[in-house]
Structure formats: C-alpha cells, structure tokens
C-alpha cells in the first residue's frame, strides 16, 4: 500500500487537475496529483490507432451512451483529455456567462466579473502558448471547407490552438509525439513536478475518505493519500462515480448532463486532399453559432476534422464492400464535425459495475439543428468541388448535387443509424447557489461535505463552449486563485 500525506490531493490530471496542480504546487503547497490512467510521454506515442486508443482513451474509445448512439471520448492517461484532444482553444463567451448569471443563479458570482473569467482564460492560454493557427498550417481539407463556406457567403474563422512547433503529423487525438501540443502533459504537469508535486498514475480513486463530514483524503486499490483538501477533477462522467462510491446521495449528482454530440460528415474530392496530415481542426464555419444571455450557446458550428483510417472506417455507414470502395479514396477525403450545442438533459448513473450508464436522448430541437448543420456542411463541400458527400446515417444516399440534399431531411436520426461523437461531456455536477438542484456551491465546494472542491466540466450549468479545454482550465485558474487567497 502506497501512502502519501500532503496538503492538497487532486484527482484527475486533465484540464482542471493539471492547472490546479501547477498553481498550487508552485505556490508552495504540498500536492499529490492522482491519475487513473498510465503515465505517458511523447516517447509512448506510436501514432498507431489500435495501440493508442487502448493506451490513452477511456475504454479504448468505446465509452458510449447506453443506447450506443453517442461515443463519449475521454482521455484516460496523464494529461487526461488534453493529451488526446484537437488542441482547440475556445473560451467561454459573455453570452454564456450572462446566461448562467441570469438563468442559473450565478448572479455576480461573489464579485467574479466576465473580465475576470476572460483574464483567467488568457492566463491559461498563455501557459500553453495558445494563439491562432498560422495560415500555412491550414491543411487542404480545412481550406476546402473554408472555400465552400466562403463561396456560399457563410462566416467562418480560423481556430486558436495550443500547438507550438507543430510539424503537422496529424495525430493529435492519439498523443503528440513531438510535445508540440501543449496540454497539461506538457504545459503544466512537468512544472508542477519540478515544484514538488507528487504524481500517482495507474491509480483509480475509489472514494473520498471521510472523518465525519470532513474529507481527509482519497484512496483506491493499493494507495491512500491523506490530505487537508481534496480536489475532484475527474471529468463529467467519472467525478460522479467518485461521489457515488463515496456515499454522496444527492439526486443532482449525474443530472443535467450535456454531451454536445457531433455528427461526422465525409466528402470525396476529385483531387488528393490527404486530410490526415496537417492540423486536423483549423477552420470552423460559425455562421449559425449563437451565444446570448437568454439561451446560452445555440445554433451549430462546422469544424474541419481528420482521423486515422481505423476511426474513420468505424464511423462510416454501409456494407463492407461499400466501405472498402470508399476507403480506397481515403486520401481524397475531407471531413467535418457538425457540432450542435445541446441543452442539459442526460444523466450519468453509477451502480455497482465499474462503468457508468450514460443516459442521453437528443432533443427534437437538437436533431433539427443537427439536420441543418449536416445540410450546411454538405452544401459547403459541394460548393468547394466535392464529387460526392457521404450521408452520415445508414440508408442516407450519397449526395452529388444540391437536389440530393433533400435526403438529409428524411434520413434516420436513430441512435444506431447516425453515429455521433461527444468529446465535451459537461454539466453532471452543476455549480449553482440553489442547493436543491446543484452539487457544488459557488465556491466550487461539494455540498454536504467539508474539504472537497470540484472543478471540471461537470460544474457547468449548460454547455460552456464549443471546446471545453479552456473553459475548464479557466475555472481551475479561478479556483486556484480563490483557495490560495
């Protein structure tokens, strides 16, 4: 049994845990950072999908909603999802923050202004060297989406990312073998360790240890960490599991889950595109993305994307013969994700099994916007010269002209027919002043127990952004400021 005694124990080394470990250890606190997944470094990243999904992703990328309709991708390794994400940096907008203030009781949030939140976002982006993706790193696939959107008069933007010295290999989602992507694995955890932070990997936290109503540490198979303060940062799915196993009985734990499901769309071009090389996601069509105080984030966005052949083939509908014919044009593919912010309505349920049940049914409004997004993306690709767009759902015919897009209106949206991906689960342990409907108070403290803070994407009342890394890091930055003061 490995035992540690520290002032602060942080569970999870992703966007929140990594930043907290960095801030607290560099402020002189004795810190232990506990990660369920393996300790990894760039030397481990072989760029092989079969090896890397198994090593870096939860359930080898197989975590999904109970009906199998949405694959919920999360990192399970040192650096968490920041090790396997696309590196996009999209802070919370004023519209979303104001939405939370007006509709979820965040009010003046103890004096934390929108400017404070933006400053936090700027600070964590500075840690990562984040900035706009240089024009010469926009690969052809993203450029085709941009050309198509431009010819249709649709607004778009170059995304910001956290890559420094990127060589465009294209393997961001299975670990950057060059340390160019500066997730917490590169930007925060090494500095935290230099400042004395203890690291425990392959360490699944079973529960928070309580002395009466006060937390005194965490424990799991083969280890125990005694601490004055416990910070839960295990993500919107698995933080709920730790609370469940620790006896937290509130019905609010696991409720109000948002998944922000994304549907992938593939287009085939006459010329070679090689979408699997270069920065996978550098351009987004934001024409229909909305953000305001009344509704939060709404509409949809279309983002260029790439993936290796294994994941691409698993997402494409049709028979094997059709798939082989299609994959023979793999180098001619361009792809995008139709990202549709949703409303909180799912639930994470933990029982006796080692895995949760993730209940999620897209709303009619979500499906309506998703159809519109798929149609808009198809239109962009056709305008950019695609010879055909592959219908994303089983049974949807290929689309070769504007007239064919009508098929999208009637295509099946059943979960088994339309494979979707969520890389941004949020909202299962809501932070709000209303004790009945929230798990966390406005100081990030878990209700009903002393000495436990919670900071990850689960605290957001609604979807925070089209990409949650910077919003989560911003919250961690604010929490660090709060506890250090």
């Amino acid at each position: 049994m490995r035992t540690l005694k520290v002032q602060d124990v942080i569970v999870g080394s992703g966007a929140a845990g990594g930043v907290l470990a960095h801030r607290l250890s560099r402020a002189g606190r004795s810190v232990a950072l506990v990660e369920e997944g393996p300790e990894v470094s760039k030397a481990d990243f072989t760029q092989r999908e079969d090896q890397m999904y198994a090593l870096l992703h939860r359930d080898a990328g197989g975590q999904a909603t109970v009906d199998g309709g949405v694959a919920v991708l999360q990192g399970r390794c040192l650096g968490g999802s920041t090790t396997v994400n696309m590196g996009d940096c999209v802070p919370i907008t004023d519209g979303v923050i104001d939405h939370w203030r007006q509709h979820f009781g965040w009010g003046d949030w103890g004096g934390i202004s929108n400017a404070d939140i933006h400053a936090a976002a700027a600070a964590v982006q500075a840690d990562m060297g984040a900035g706009p993706i240089p024009e010469d790193m926009v690969n052809k696939a993203n450029d085709l989406l941009r050309q198509g959107a431009g010819s249709l008069g649709m607004a778009g933007e170059i995304l910001h990312h956290n890559r420094v010295g990127c060589i465009g290999a294209g393997y961001c989602t299975i670990g950057c073998a060059y340390d160019a992507k500066r997730g917490t694995l590169v930007a925060h955890i090494p500095a935290a360790r230099e400042a004395g932070c203890e690291l425990l990997c392959d360490a699944l936290v079973d529960r928070v240890i309580l002395d009466g109503s006060r937390a005194v540490g965490v424990e799991g198979p083969g280890f125990r960490v005694d601490a004055e303060r416990v910070f839960l940062c295990a993500g919107a799915i698995h933080t709920c599991g730790i609370l469940h196993r620790s006896g937290h009985s509130s019905d609010a734990v696991g409720a109000n889950l948002s998944l922000q499901p994304q549907a992938p769309l593939v287009a085939i071009f006459p010329e070679e595109v090689r979408f699997f090389r270069g920065v996978p996601q550098s351009y987004a069509v934001v024409e229909d993305l909305t953000s305001d105080a009344d509704h939060g984030l709404g509409g949809f966005t279309l983002e260029g994307v790439s993936t290796g052949p294994a994941l691409a083939s698993s997402m494409i509908p049709g028979t094997m013969a059709e798939l082989i014919a299609l994959m023979s044009r793999y180098a001619h593919m361009a792809a995008s994700l139709c990202l549709v912010p949703d409303r909180p309505g799912g639930r994470v349920v933990w029982g006796d099994r080692p895995r949760p049940t993730i209940k999620y049914t897209p709303s009619d409004d979500h499906q309506r916007r998703l159809r519109a997004a798929i149609k808009a993306a198809s239109r962009c690709y056709l305008a950019a010269g695609a010879e055909r767009v592959i219908g994303p759902a089983a049974g949807c015919p290929e689309m070769r002209s504007e007239a064919d897009l009508a098929a999208i209106d009637t295509m099946s949206m059943r979960s088994s027919d339309l494979p979707m991906i969520s890389a941004h689960p949020q909202g299962s342990c809501r932070m709000a002043p209303d004790a009945f409907n929230s798990v966390v108070d406005m100081d990030f403290r878990v209700r009903g127990v002393d000495g436990v803070w919670l900071c990850d994407a689960s605290i957001f009342p609604t979807t925070a952004s089209t990409h949650t890394m910077v919003p989560v890091m911003s919250m961690a930055h604010l929490l660090a400021q709060q506890v250090l003061s």
């Binding site: 073998a177 083939s313 698993s314």
Partner: protein, 160 residues
C-alpha cells in the same frame, strides 16, 4: 376473451412464459458454456459467435478471426462479460426467442440476413449490438498496416 375461455392476459402470460422457457432451454438447458471462461478471453463458443459476426461484418474469414482475437485480448473482465452477454443473445436468439438455429451454425447468407435485420431492427438493443460489432470489427481491421497502402495512407511518421 379468446378461445376456450382463456383471457387475453392469460394468453399473453402463457406465451411469455413459453418464450422464456424456450429461450432458457436454448441458452442454458444444453449447457453449451458450462466450462468457466479462461481468464481474460471469451470462452470458445462465444468466441465462435464473435468470429462469425465479424466475418459477416468484414466479409473475410481470416480478417474476422484476427479482429476477434484482437478485440478479445483488449477487453477487461467487465467488458468481456457484457460482450459475452450480447453474443449470447445473438447466438441463441438471432431471429427472436423462438429461433431454432444458433447463429454460428447458420450459413453465411443467413447470418448476413440476420445481421442486416438486426441493424435495421425496431429493437434498440439489437441495433446497438449490431452497430457496436460493426464498428469494432472495422476499427480493428483498418488499424492493420496491411490495409493502409490500398487507401493511400502512408502510416505513422514516428520511426521513419
């Protein structure tokens, strides 16, 4: 009321009990998997079902066997248990609880019909099982370097 004075409720209850007994006979009465599964892998009969399902998905027996072995080796005990349960349903009730032929003993054409029917089934659990098997088979198959050249994919840069 239905014939012979049997109420609708009794008729439905009787049918359900019969179906359950029939399914139970097929699933457990023959004790096809009486041997405890070896640690870390599917027991032989379930493995046979998996290979048969993958062969339909990949339309290639050798690739199916390789993919099934890869999947088998990559899952933990809990995942194996869930996969085994799904494969049991596919094996013993490929066309409903009254099916008399096990999936793995069907010819390829009939297996393909079953998988297609499951993919389009009104029952969510069938669609989910079929979709999961299809995605897993394809993921594993196309992660093999032997498939890359035909796609124009030049593989990892690391080590080059």
């Amino acid at each position: 009321m239905t014939a012979a004075g049997t109420s609708r409720r009794q008729f439905i209850t009787g049918s359900l009990l019969f179906s359950a007994a029939f399914a139970g006979y097929h699933a457990w009465g023959r004790r096809p998997w009486a041997e405890p599964p070896p640690s870390g892998e599917l027991p032989g009969p379930q493995g046979t079902t998996l290979v048969a399902a993958f062969a339909v998905m990949l339309e290639d027996d050798a690739a199916a066997a390789r993919a099934a072995a890869e999947l088998d080796a990559s899952l933990d005990a809990d995942q194996l248990e869930q996969l085994g349960l799904a494969l049991k349903v596919l094996e013993f009730a490929p066309a409903g609880p009254l099916t008399s032929t096990r999936f793995s003993r069907m010819d390829r054409a009939r297996q393909t019909e079953v998988i297609r029917a499951w993919e389009a089934s009104r029952l969510g659990v069938r669609r989910q099982i079929a979709a999961t098997l299809r995605q897993a088979a394809r993921f594993i198959h196309f992660s093999q370097p032997s498939t890359w050249a035909a796609m124009g994919y030049d593989g990892p840069w690391v080590g080059k």
